[in-house]
């Protein structure tokens, strides 16, 4: 190349300087006063406090919503220290041991974000006679019951840079809980938007948090609640389902729509929202859980229905062979067998249960398959929304559960 660039006038000195670099480095190191190495860092401590691996809490108080067949559990840290702060609308995942099964259940935090600073979260559990965990919790949780929970999770919350300043919330039954938290956050100045909640209940008696919302509405004009009763026609309430017409009746200018409720409500609203012709970005839905009738989903291989397959599970150095019903997600088979498997949203979205399908086939509803591109290609699945349609070999990540 023929260049001969020098920084000092004599290039040889530059070369010498290069040769001496390691000496200079060594001298700098040797000149330092050796220190006790701690390995703690302020930002890491902040991150850990906001996102701990898990949190141990106790049930501090129980509120019975008899009319709605639900109870609210107020959870607190035993020592009263603060819980991670959160965005109103986020959920916590409870890690439960029911019989021999280690399961998780996701519940929106219904309390004000500022309660977290006082060390409290509230969740609301509604009875579900066909379910596995809800009624068990309602029966077994007492004041003083110890629980292990995740930190608040999920993306069902207001975003200043994305959402319209006007939000119309569509709530069905206990789907009201994230909106109660949002309403508190607005009241407290933690969030700044106008929230109009169309809250669907069966009848007046089963309305959840009526008094709480009345108080919030008295304290701030940014929150408005409209109760919509499906089974009862009464003065002062809307009647029927939440429809496009009803949304337009209460909308004032442009708005974002937030939805949280049972599966049937999402199905119904699909058609109603289509009438409003809103861009996708203005519609946010909370995770919807998983179907109980997988054989009715598009493209399901019907002959698998009702069968029981062999599931070989590898976790760390351990290996188990268990049964897996075609009618239930793979995650449920793991839980039934007493394996400590990771999960959080149980709707396929959060990816916490991501596991490696070594062999075999599963059915995943293609419309709800939100896995990463490479994961689809390489056979990584989200067991919470994957149904076995053959014998399977699965590698499952480790997860902590209290015994």
């Amino acid at each position: 190349m023929g260049h001969n660039v020098k920084v000092s006038i004599i290039g040889v000195l530059d070369m010498l300087k290069f040769k001496n670099m390691s000496k200079v480095r060594e001298a700098t190191i040797q000149a330092a006063e050796p220190e006790e190495i701690v390995g703690e860092f302020a930002i890491n401590q902040n991150a850990k406090a906001l996102h701990p691996d898990y949190i141990e809490v106790v049930v501090d108080q129980i509120v019975d919503h008899a009319g709605a067949g639900a109870k609210s559990f107020i959870l607190k840290k035993e020592d009263g220290s603060p819980l991670p702060y959160f965005r109103a609308g986020q959920y916590i995942s409870l890690k439960l041991k029911i019989g021999d099964s280690f399961v998780t259940r996701a519940y929106s935090v219904s309390s004000a974000p500022k309660w977290a600073l006082e060390g409290k979260y509230a969740i609301t559990v509604k009875a579900n006679p066909n379910g596995f965990a809800a009624d068990w919790m309602l029966e077994n949780f007492q004041v003083g019951t110890r629980l292990t929970i995740s930190s608040p999770q999920g993306y069902f919350h207001y975003e200043n840079l994305r959402d319209n300043k006007n939000v119309i919330a569509l709530a069905g039954g206990s789907g009201i809980t994230p909106f109660l938290s949002m309403a508190y956050a607005i009241r407290d100045g933690a969030e700044d938007f106008r929230l109009t909640i169309l809250s669907g209940s069966r009848n007046e008696e089963s309305i959840l948090f009526r008094e709480e919302f009345d108080k919030i509405q008295a304290a701030t004009d940014k929150v408005k609640v409209v109760h919509v009763l499906s089974d009862e026609e009464k003065e002062g309430f809307e009647h029927g389902f939440i429809t496009a017409d009803l949304i337009q009746k209460y909308a004032d200018g442009d708005y974002s729509v937030f939805i949280c409720g049972p599966a049937a409500m999402y199905d119904f609203l699909k058609g109603e929202l289509a009438k409003l012709d809103l861009p996708k970005r203005l519609i946010r839905s909370e995770a919807q859980g998983v179907t109980k009738k997988v054989w009715e989903e598009p493209g399901y291989p019907k002959k698998a229905k009702g069968k029981v397959f062999k599931l070989t599970v590898k976790q760390g150095a351990d290996e188990y062979v268990i049964d897996a019903s075609a009618n239930e997600p793979v995650l449920v088979a793991l839980e039934r067998a007493g394996i400590k498997a990771p999960s959080r949203c149980r709707s396929g979205e959060c990816g916490w249960c991501r596991s490696r399908l070594v062999s075999g086939d599963v059915y995943i509803n293609p419309e709800k398959d939100v896995r990463r591109f490479a994961d689809k290609k390489n056979g990584e699945i989200h067991p919470c929304v994957s149904f076995p349609v053959s014998d399977l070999v699965l590698e499952v990540p480790g997860e902590y559960f209290p015994e």
């Binding site: 190349m1 260049h3 001969n4 660039v5 020098k6 920084v7 530059d14 070369m15 300087k17 290069f18 040769k19 001496n20 670099m21 480095r25 060594e26 190191i29 040797q30 000149a31 330092a32 006063e33 050796p34 190495i37 701690v38 390995g39 703690e40 860092f41 302020a42 930002i43 890491n44 902040n46 991150a47 850990k48 906001l50 991670p84 974000p113 600073l117 993306y155 975003e159 840079l161 861009p279 996708k280 970005r281 976790q315 760390g316 150095a317 990816g351 991501r354 596991s355 939100v370 990463r372 591109f373 490479a374 290609k377 390489n378 990584e380 590698e395 990540p397 480790g398 997860e399 902590y400």
Partner: protein
């Protein structure tokens, strides 16, 4: 309990590379990862209908198939298959020249094209630019040679083949630019990549910068077609294919020793025994929390002290998924570097002073390089800036969201003012990654993904020269950004390979020497 030859901790760029290196050499390797997927920084996350790239802007050293760069060659050697897409330009930079005139410069890939474009912006600069790129090339080859020698470079070869590297090797970038009498405007334009290393041009070694810039300009940059998660996944698939074992959601808790030699790792999924462990864990965490204090060499305590907890850049990125085509909001280029000035030391200091003074950011639009990265008629773009350490360590949980929004809002306005790009009204998904996020997912001290600053006496070259002196614990060889090659995707992969080779050498000695 099974015994492994090697346990690699952390399935990021460095760990994946190291694990492939040792497993392919026939050493039984276990790769453990604290999360449930590979990649570390090199990952992706899904929001709504979008899969989002969290960290990679452009991968250097891939190169075209017929002229493979160091990383493509490394992946070929490992047998890792991944589809890459070329990035159209080097960069567009909108800033201010040292003489106060406005700068809006777009530089292409390819040395000839780059020099030609520089001539257009700075007439008469060609001879000096040629000279610079000749030296860049010499240094690129020289650093590749020293990496390949893993600390055993032959000084005669160095003197004969890489004399300019030796002559310029001890100086910071600006000093060499000045000594070469590069026109000031060229210097201003050439400074743009400093943010990729997080150290300003008065304190960053010329050879480090030269070697990096050459890698970007010479044969262009690439990105994996389906985010960097695709590349990490391809690496881990290959690792499994050749017999490697992977444990996810598994955290290393403690290193176990037999006298002064490592013999195992206590993990959250049980204890594993091994002859060698390659952790991508910052040495301060290893020494502070994961091994017996009495085994920590005095010199290591001094090294930590001498580094003075000077962790590198605190990254902040805001991700935006738009419900329209990128052209609709005025995006023309792949990457825009915006800076208040072309004085990198001033920029560095302003960044450290806090968001009110920070005018530095990189705006990136993946669709410009790769239209298939998001559904038709949508766009994925991001803003990356560096953060002030104090600001992010002192903010409370309650104010944390507001700080993230403040940074993003300021940068969005800066971008709108300087480029005309206005994405408001089109944001369908949004997400932020702050130093807290990087601390959470990567365990990097203070969330500093670049390791220690590659600064002054602790630059890349001197770390390479002292490979044998640093981390002298038998059976424990840290990898990652705190290692010899510093930060960046390709640097981490090379470090993984390099340290993997050193580990293999140790293993050969111990296992074949029979003194294990």
């Amino acid at each position: 309990m099974t015994k492994y030859d090697v346990v690699v901790v952390g399935a990021g760029n460095s760990g994946l590379s190291a694990a492939l290196r040792t497993q392919l050499a026939g050493k039984k390797t276990l790769l453990i990862e604290q999360h449930n997927l590979p990649g570390g920084c090199a990952t992706s996350f899904v929001r709504g209908r979008f899969e989002i790239e969290p960290s990679l802007h452009e991968l250097c050293d891939i190169g075209p198939v017929d002229m493979p760069g160091e990383i493509r060659q490394l992946m070929d050697e490992y047998g890792v298959q991944c589809e890459y897409v070329p990035v159209p330009d080097c960069f567009r930079v909108i800033s201010t020249f040292s003489d106060g005139t406005p700068m809006d410069v777009t530089m292409p890939h390819g040395i000839d094209a780059f020099i030609e474009k520089m001539e257009y912006y700075v007439p008469g600069s060609t001879p000096k630019m040629r000279e610079l790129f000749d030296i860049y090339e010499e240094i690129r080859q020289g650093t590749a040679y020293t990496s390949a020698c893993a600390g055993h470079a032959d000084s005669k070869v160095m003197k004969k083949k890489y004399p300019n590297m030796l002559r310029l090797g001890s100086y910071p970038v600006n000093k060499v630019f000045k000594a070469m009498k590069l026109p000031q405007k060229c210097q201003d334009i050439l400074s743009v990549y400093w943010g990729y290393l997080g150290v300003d041009m008065n304190h960053l070694a010329f050879i480090h910068y030269a070697s990096m810039m050459q890698r970007y300009v010479r044969m262009g940059a690439y990105i994996p077609k389906h985010t960097s998660h695709e590349l990490s996944s391809a690496m881990i698939e290959r690792f499994r294919e050749v017999g490697g074992e992977v444990w996810y959601n598994c955290r290393a808790e403690e290193f176990l020793f037999d006298k002064d030699k490592l013999c195992g790792v206590k993990t959250t999924l049980g204890t594993v025994y091994c002859d060698m462990c390659l952790p991508n864990i910052n040495p301060e965490i290893i020494y502070g929390k994961m091994m017996p204090k009495e085994l920590i060499p005095e010199r290591e305590k001094k090294l930590v002290a001498a580094r003075g907890h000077r962790y590198s850049a605190r990254m902040f990125t805001a991700y935006f998924c738009l419900d329209c085509d990128y052209k609709e909001v005025g995006i023309e280029n792949y990457s825009y570097f915006l800076a208040g000035s072309s004085d990198s030391e001033r920029e560095y200091n302003d960044i450290h002073a806090g968001i009110d003074k920070n005018n530095y950011c990189i705006f990136l639009c993946l669709n410009v390089a790769n239209p298939d990265i998001s559904p038709k008629g949508t766009t994925v773009c991001s803003i990356t800036t560096l953060g002030a350490p104090e600001e992010w360590s002192k903010v409370t949980q309650e104010d944390y969201v507001a700080l993230k929004e403040k940074v993003a809002t300021k940068m969005l306005k800066l971008i709108k003012d300087k480029t005309g790009i206005d994405i408001s009204g089109h944001i369908e998904e949004i997400s932020f990654a702050s130093p807290w996020t990087f601390a959470r997912y990567l365990n990097a001290p203070e969330g500093a993904v670049y390791g220690y600053e590659v600064r002054d006496w602790d630059g890349m070259m001197t770390r390479m020269m002292m490979l044998k002196q640093d981390f002298p614990i038998k059976g424990l060889r840290p990898i990652g950004a705190a290692g010899p090659r510093g930060d960046g995707y390709s640097a981490a992969m090379i470090t993984g390979s390099l340290v993997g080779k050193l580990a293999l050498k140790d293993l050969r000695e111990w296992q074949e020497g029979g003194n294990n």
